[in-house]
Amino acid sequence: MGRKTEITNLLANLPRLGAGLAYREPFRDELLQKQSEVDFVEIIGDHYLDAPPERMDELVLLGEHFTLIPHFTNLSLGSAEEIDPVYVEKITSLIKRLSPPWWSEHIGYTRAGGMTLGHPAPLPFTKESVDVMTRNIVTVRRAIATPLILENICSPLLWPGAELAEPAFISEVLTSGGCGLLLDVTNLLTHATNLGGSPEDFLAELPLDRVVQVHFSGGHETNGRLVESHAQPVSEAVWKLLDAVVARAPVRCICLERDDNFPPLPEVLWQVERARAIGRQHRRWN
């Protein structure tokens, strides 16, 4: 099967979800009352592994009201060490339980030498890294049939000895792993700008036909550098980039992330509504 056919099949089977929110505990009480304003909820899957019963009750409750998309951070698909089989078993079980249309992880690594970083670190843009990612993705896909999409990360560190440009590296990983792209537009803007490049140029080099989901969030500027803190309202630069992506990519959903400095939920939901309108404007959903 050719690459184009494979992508077409992948996307054709995925539902158009609309605009949603990444679930965080401070939103818990208000979110259920605002069900009609959120088309889906993304959960951090790691927070429900080995979770106590009361935590799983929360997941059941969310699942009764929303389509849930699990997003993971600690699978560490970029780890050159062997992928953790126990962790794979646990996420397989959670994904089976949720039965989501797709699930997501990052292009990076969080485990190395017995350390768990808690947030993805960058990979060297080399053929060896592509091979490592591919090997680990194949292992995971043997256990989990649900489509996997991978997120671009934002990192100030560039490893020495790159063999590929970053967009080409991302493209290679997605192609060889048979994955969709979770495009984080705030990561893209922050990353490209801080490295002295153009977000638009970076975007132009990405395989936009593989975009399934988009993340967006607010950040701030410190000492002339952008910081994707997920702690502020979304900037106009991010809105502009989001619009450009939705205009060009077959986006199935857009998800707002807010991780800190939590305002009342209505202050977050107007941003979800604006994202929903962008999707409508570009006919990604009704």
Partner: protein, 191 residues
Amino acid sequence: MELALQQKLVARLATDREFREKFFADPAGVAASEGLTVAAESFAQIHPEQVRQLARVLRRRRLAVVGIHLPLTRKALGERFADLFRNYAVSPPPGKQPFEDALGFAAFLEQHAAEKGLDPQWAPSIARYEAAELEATWLRRRLLVRCFPHAIKQLAALLTAGEVPPGSYQRSTTAVWWRTAASSRLKHWLG
């Protein structure tokens, strides 16, 4: 194997302040001592400021997660929560799960308060109370009892309402968490 060693080195550089400074004093030498062969020389080209920025990014993410796990402590300490976290997060996060970092930070706060003091004086009690709740929840304790020298119930209510009350709030408090079985729901009593 070389990539695994490189990843381990970058992970240590991004999370261990002491190791980071040692590395930048002699990048090629430290890379070689960590077992790198082919890449030892190229690692000498890593930009120190980029590594420090990566360390800040990872620390900021840890701070956000720990803040969600210790919400009352964060309110009690205000901006000092982040300042103190910076002093705590000079080494890799303990354990594999997010709550373990919060437990580590709560223990750090208690030690800091004992050695250097912490204002408000009841803040370490709030941190210890939240840490006990995390322990009872995530480690699925069947029975956990903690005593505090401060009025936890009253302080928790005020902090939840957005107030950081002045005053000492000295009053003995006992907190109990229990489950009838490991698979049953957690119960809590505070008096």
